[in-house]
Amino acid sequence: MDKKKNLPIFLLISVFIIATCGLIYELVAGALASYLLGDSVKQFSFIIGTYLFAMGVGSFFAKFIVKNLLDRFIDIELLIGIIGGTSSVILFLLFQQVEHFQLILYLFVFLTGCLSGMEIPLLMNILKDRVNFRDLVSNVFTFDYIGALIASVLFPILLIPKLGVMGTSLFFGIINVTVGIFLSFYLSKQLKNPIILKIKSLVCFIILIGLFFYSNELLKYSENQLYSTNVIYKHSTPYQRIVLTEAKGEYQLFLNNNLQFNTKDEYRYHETLVHPAMSIAKSPKKVLVLGGGDGLAVREILKYSSVEKVVLVDLDEGMTKLFQTNELLRKHNANALNNARVEVINMDAFLWVKEAKDKFDVMIIDFPDPSNYSLGKLYTNNFYKSLYPLMEPQCIVSVQTTSPYFAPKSYWCIYETIASVFPNNLAYHTYVPSFGEWGFNLFSPDMRVNFNRVNQRVPNLKYYNYNLQKMTDFPADMKAVDVEINRLDNQILVRYFDEEWSKI
């Protein structure tokens, strides 16, 4: 075959591939932005605008490339492959740590757009002397738009479900680089520096292939399936697996595959957990939060101006760090964990309680459900006894105590366990759509404390209206009798819990 003659055809195929890839990167950036930052209409619109504008900038600068056009064209292929291909991986990784995430996102979009914008003018310059100009313009744009169509159809139907965002961008990065490899070998004789280009393109290829397999590790396809939403962050700490997902502009946090909150209705849960205790206490100054590394309970506590100090003890530094640094999550907890009144301690709560010397007016206990023997210890009579030395005489404590509807025996087991240590306690519950009926417990070492007496209120709560009595009625399907007390040496609660939740 005559290479010279075939050159236009190969380059036009390249145009087709380039166009497909270019649009894919644009869609990937749009999808990422709307997962990670929410508000998909705004994000998509901004991304498309930025991308097209960047293409214009790229086209403008293309005219300054005058020498070794074919070499440069392959260079640009490789650059797009690498930058576009790795963009989603890098953005995912940076999302957890970087403060100005948006800036970096748009920088990536701009760079990819710019490089894509250079491709077509450069290609037309390469071909202008070998092909009739009228055919050239027409063919280039035809292939360009066909590529765009195919990309935009495949993206939502095939690529995202099968490969995920990361897989898709890496896959097309690989295709981009493959074009580079093909051209650098096929057109070897027409290139100025064929050897260097060949090496560069192979290196790029290896990097992307490597990342492609790593991305499987990073964001397993199966996990996307499991959560049936977009996984936008996941991280394994020594204690748990943290997964943040997005669906319809709302965010869900999973710890070890258990839903911790959904931004859509978490206020119901956190207001009900925090405000009864805070409003019954008389101008509480010092508040202890055990668990609750998401800072959402702290957000509610800080609404009370009497509060001088909040101590939050959460085992997992990975969790509190995430909610202290991540822009999106900080927005949700109103930056509570960086508040000057808040001290964050990363320690095992039981071990901390045993050694702490401070005393508190209010305690908010927000541990994960007692789904294993490790967590079960945090619901034993011994644990509640250990809190006593840390209590001011009229201390009010509230505890999340799993669902009285799904797990009535577990719920009332915790109630009885608390009552065996602190007889002045109160069971209450409310409805949180993401969780269903959810239960809590209030208790105080002072027998005279009346849980229906409100001592202070804060305005503008979305859900809790300081009428606690309304939440203390339990219909028959949320009751259980003959439950044992949960002790370290029987851990009966874990058995109840296991038995009840396995039915669901």
């Binding site: 020594p238 039981f350 370290l488 851990q491 009966i492």
Partner: protein, 505 residues
């Protein structure tokens, strides 16, 4: 390939074996003290604790090893404390008042209920889940084999446990239990049933127990408590294991007292009040009884000098395999006094490979394995379980010739022990080798006395307990014949009372 850090440790047998060919430097120091306690195991520490509490008599305690504790020694790494020997104390019988009082003094018992029964500190009771057993490729809860067993096996097990309940309640006409702890509290007629004259295996055959499940289960219990299996252990001792604990405090069910460092905690509590009266790495090599005192010659292994201690009275808390060198005039009967060698391996691992069934428990036993399973030390922590995990793997080397087993214990290299342990653990945890960070193999040359037929009821054993010239008093669990904390505690305490009561005589 995963590199596993290996370490071979153990009681100081090299120093101990110098007793066989004594060649020590001349005496360079002479000390005088009213009472000298020899041996820092539980019996010796209890003697010191009791003497200190009673007051009035100054004393030293000398110990051959670098640490006291004997078979209740413990270790610590950066993740956890862990036992190197005995790892729990069952709740004492209500009649064992002295032990309950001690537990009260050291904060294990925190009060008494309306009936006067002790209230035990929950944090020192074994946490749930206590036990699991790997059987037929499945972890079942509890250690009595059930999973996958036939009805016939279950019937035999039930019949056996029923029989043990009968033994548990059995009393003589004076109202003394036949089986009790400490042994001295039980009926003087306890050996009349002839149970000490036959092995457990013989007794099972005689009573028509044939289930291999039951045999394997009892063999496990027997090795776990005495080092030797049902083939070599007296039926009396094995039945004692089931029938002597009365579970008097019903609300605690089957709970036992335990700590991350096992009985190392009790050893520490005993030693706490007289720590500065303990001389470690001091090996006694000769005891001479004089008209008015006792001369004890010792070798200070740290400074490499010999010393002489002149004491009015000596409480000898050494095991009898040591005493035969210190008191050459003692009657010897090697046939009756047997000690099984043990290893306790501390295995640190990233995580457990997946296995089907019950969750990780405190005691984890593998049915039909060579070893005796493992204890998860951090189970007794109030904190959340986390990697790395520290487990203690137990193995007693039993056989007809325990001396040969002892040679095997010391001849095997660390690599050979590693392979042995990994192979045994792999039965339940396939692929565990890749998760292991380190293994420390602690060797007990003489782990505990093995009550072989005839020893408990022998005249020989009784003779060994008798004081010499009202100057040397003996205390060690091997004199009871059953190596458990309660016996050692009883022995140590009794020796002190015996000595003080006869001080003027």
């Amino acid at each position: 390939m995963n590199t596993i850090f290996l370490k071979l440790t153990g009681t100081n047998h090299i120093l101990g074996h110098k007793l066989r060919f004594p060649d020590f430097p001349n005496i360079s120091e002479i000390l005088e003290v009213p009472v000298l306690i020899i041996g820092g195991g539980i019996a010796g520490l209890t003697a010191g604790y009791t003497l200190n509490k009673r007051g009035g008599k100054d004393f030293f305690l000398v110990e051959l090893d670098a640490e006291t504790g004997g078979n209740a020694k413990s270790g610590e790494n950066k993740y956890s404390k862990y036992p190197l020997g005995a790892h729990y104390l069952p709740l004492p019988n209500a009649s064992n008042v002295e032990l309950i009082d001690f537990l009260f003094d050291v904060g294990v018992v925190i009060g008494r209920d309306d009936n006067g029964n002790p209230i035990f500190d929950e944090e020192q009771l074994s946490f749930a889940p206590q036990e699991r057993l790997f059987i037929k490729n499945y972890w079942q809860e509890g250690i009595v084999p059930q999973y996958g067993s036939s009805d016939a096996d279950q019937q035999e097990l039930t019949r056996f446990l029923h029989k043990m309940e009968e033994f548990k309640a059995l009393k003589d006409q004076n109202g003394h239990y036949i089986f009790n702890i400490p042994m001295c509290y039980s009926s003087p007629e306890k050996f009349d049933l002839g149970l000490d004259q036959i092995t457990m295996e013989e007794w099972l055959r005689k009573e028509g127990y044939t289930s291999s499940y039951l045999h394997e289960y009892l063999n496990y219990c027997c090795r776990d408590d005495y080092g030797t299996g049902i083939k070599y252990t007296a039926a009396f001792a094995v039945i004692h294991y089931f029938a002597a604990r009365k579970h008097d405090f019903k609300k605690y069910e089957d709970a036992v007292l335990t700590w991350q460092e096992g009985n190392g905690r009790l050893a520490k509590l005993l030693a706490e009040s007289f720590e500065n009266q303990i001389l470690k790495q001091h090996m006694v090599y000769k005891i001479t009884v004089n008209e008015s005192n006792v001369e004890v010659l010792l070798f200070d292994a740290q400074r490499k000098v010999s010393k002489k201690i002149i004491a009015e009275k000596v409480i000898n808390c050494c095991p009898q395999y040591v005493n035969k060198y210190l008191l050459p005039q003692r009657v010897k009967n090697f046939q009756l006094l047997q000690y099984a060698p043990w290893i306790v391996a501390t295995v640190v691992l990233h995580k457990f490979p997946f296995a089907d069934g019950a969750n990780l428990a405190w005691e984890n036993i593998i049915f039909g394995a060579k070893g005796l399973g493992y204890v998860y030390a951090q189970h007794q922590s109030l904190g959340q379980f986390k990697s790395p995990f520290v487990i203690s793997y137990y193995h007693s080397l039993d056989g007809t010739d325990l001396n040969e087993q002892r040679r095997k214990l010391y001849n095997q290299t660390d690599e050979q022990w590693k392979e042995f342990i990994i192979k045994d653990l792999s039965i339940a945890h396939f692929g565990i080798e890749d998760e292991i960070i380190s293994i420390e193999i602690f060797r007990h040359g003489h782990g505990m006395v093995s009550p072989i037929p005839g020893y408990l009821s022998s005249e020989y054993r009784k003779q060994l307990t008798l004081p010499i010239a009202n100057k040397i008093f003996f205390a060690h669990s091997d004199l009871s014949g059953i190596s458990i904390f309660e016996e050692a505690f009883y022995q140590g305490r009794e020796a002190v009372y015996d000595m003080l009561d006869n001080w003027e005589a």
